[in-house]
Subunit: 320 residues, 2 copies
């Protein structure tokens, strides 16, 4: 693990280049005014499959030997990683086995199937998911691809920050949301590898602040009953990501639920970008906790844009 560094991220960038989108960097004067800083949005909601997750999944799938690849890949997730892994597998022409609790919304199941993933249902609960996945891996010989606690995934996620800093080299700060730490860990490796003096700051919903508490305690503290609309950010740090965050991340800022919704809505209304709640978390944290960062040039990774347009977090009056 200690060997994971900028060169791995550069290698991942070269590996995924034929498939991943080099997403644009967008600015928005209203957002700058709102935050009192100059914000550069790295638009990973425009990445394939609608989230940064495709970078890591693609890197993992393309890192397999032909022999490994032939047996496919597997994971358990109801979120963006499942869609991303299914798409990456399809691009290599190999099977993707995705374990999901049977109560996952149909729209998410349809998205995985739309990318060619094969779903096996299990009972809800982490243990049930892990058992179902282990059984399926034993049957098929597929390679398990963890959503974040995997060096290939971390290196892949770091390619977003690599591109961001290639395009906007003079950033003072880079920010990303944190769940399991794959994106923030990869971002930190890339940013500090390219520019050792840059500040790397994470953001997390206050209602799912296990990473903040873990960094404070000096050990991984699992979240208990995380409560947040940012459903992509309910995971816990892993033994590969935690040390990266300890070494390279200055701090992790919390964001309130109301702040997340307000920031998300501002990005929709003024930047005209459809982002998911998780992607708004760094902006909300900056608004609420970023006094010391006013006036700086801050790169923010907009992590994804997969939302259910029938269920938006702001109140909808019943009639026009």
């Amino acid at each position: 693990m200690s060997s994971l560094g900028l060169e791995d991220i550069r290698a991942a960038a070269a590996r995924i280049a034929p498939h991943a989108r080099r997403t644009p960097v967008q600015t928005c004067a209203s957002l700058d005014d709102w935050l009192g800083a100059r914000i550069f949005l790295k638009c990973e909601h425009l990445q394939r499959a609608g989230a940064f997750k495709f970078r890591g999944a693609c890197n993992a799938v393309l890192s397999l030997s032909d022999e490994e690849a032939a047996r496919g890949v597997a994971t358990h997730t109801s979120g963006n990683h499942g869609q991303a892994l299914a798409l990456a597998a399809r691009l290599r022409g190999i099977p993707a086995h995705i374990v999901m609790p049977h109560d996952v919304p149909r729209v998410k199941q349809a998205a995985v199937r739309g990318y060619g993933g094969v779903i096996r249902h299990c009972e809800p609960g982490t243990r049930n998911r892990e058992q179902a996945l282990a059984a399926w891996v034993a049957e098929t010989g597929a390679t398990l691809v963890h959503p974040y606690n995997d060096a290939r995934i971390i290196a892949g996620q770091g390619t977003a920050a690599l591109e961001l800093l290639e395009e906007i080299p003079d950033l003072d700060v880079v920010m990303a949301p944190v769940s399991g730490g794959g994106l923030l860990g990869g971002t930190a490796l890339a940013a500090r590898g390219l520019k050792p003096g840059i500040r790397v700051i994470g953001a997390e919903p206050a209602g799912a602040d296990d990473a903040i508490r873990s960094l404070a305690a000096g050990r991984i503290i699992p979240g208990e009953h995380p409560q947040t609309i940012a459903d992509g950010l309910r995971g816990n740090l892993g033994d590969l990501t935690f040390p990266l965050l300890r070494e390279h991340v200055e701090r992790i800022l919390p964001a309130s639920e109301a702040g997340i919704i307000e920031a998300m809505r501002l990005v929709w209304e003024r930047a005209k970008q459809v982002i998911e709640p998780s992607a708004a978390v760094p902006l909300a944290a900056l608004r609420e906790q970023g006094e010391a960062l006013r006036g700086l040039r801050i790169g923010v990774i907009l992590s994804g844009g997969n939302v259910d347009l029938d269920h938006l977090p702001w109140r909808q009056p019943p009639t026009r």
Copy 2:
């Protein structure tokens, strides 16, 4: 009028360059699949004030002599032109007088005021608006800037197609929605000026198809009680825009209301872009009426992105 041509559009482009945004051109594989064509989206919803309207308004304001400018500009509109003119006037440091019926939603009034525009209320109805505007112009000496039947406006709107074709020269078709014809007329002038063989096609809600009927009849036929969610497209052609459309536009395709909503939602969900219903009209028309255009390379001007996020056109289940 016959003298308006590509050179006017180039002059407008140079004039507005310091202020207008050179908007990106975006592609979306899902949209290409949906339409059976290769679509290039010119992102005018990312233009300043959220719509292409800023181009024309800015060109008009910057075309004024200092003496004229000092007396300000004026218009009557509750839509994007009012916001655009207010912003353009503010950038030149001159007053913008905007007449609006008193029943215009507060969110639209707030947007105009947010850009520094001064609002005077009138009773609803075209005649009341025109009378109130005439009185205000007489008081102030302000220059009336019509939303589309004005050569400076038409030339300004044409700069979007100019940029689009500079970036993607090998388009077969360029499409834009039509209301008063300022955007479509300017688009046609720019596109055919740069590339005489290009096909220019308009799109209009079937429920507000006065431009389709006008072209068929060979004279301007005003719309009666237009019914469409695309509230930017309820205007009628003017005596400057109609001849441009007759000369340069191959045809105007109608779009159903359900089609407009479906296309708008697809752009939100898959391209992750917040566009207003009017901007979805060309895509809906292509889907419903574009069989003969399958397989072509089609540039589409996404006209704007100013929507009320509290009132979306798809049905919202009351609870999650």
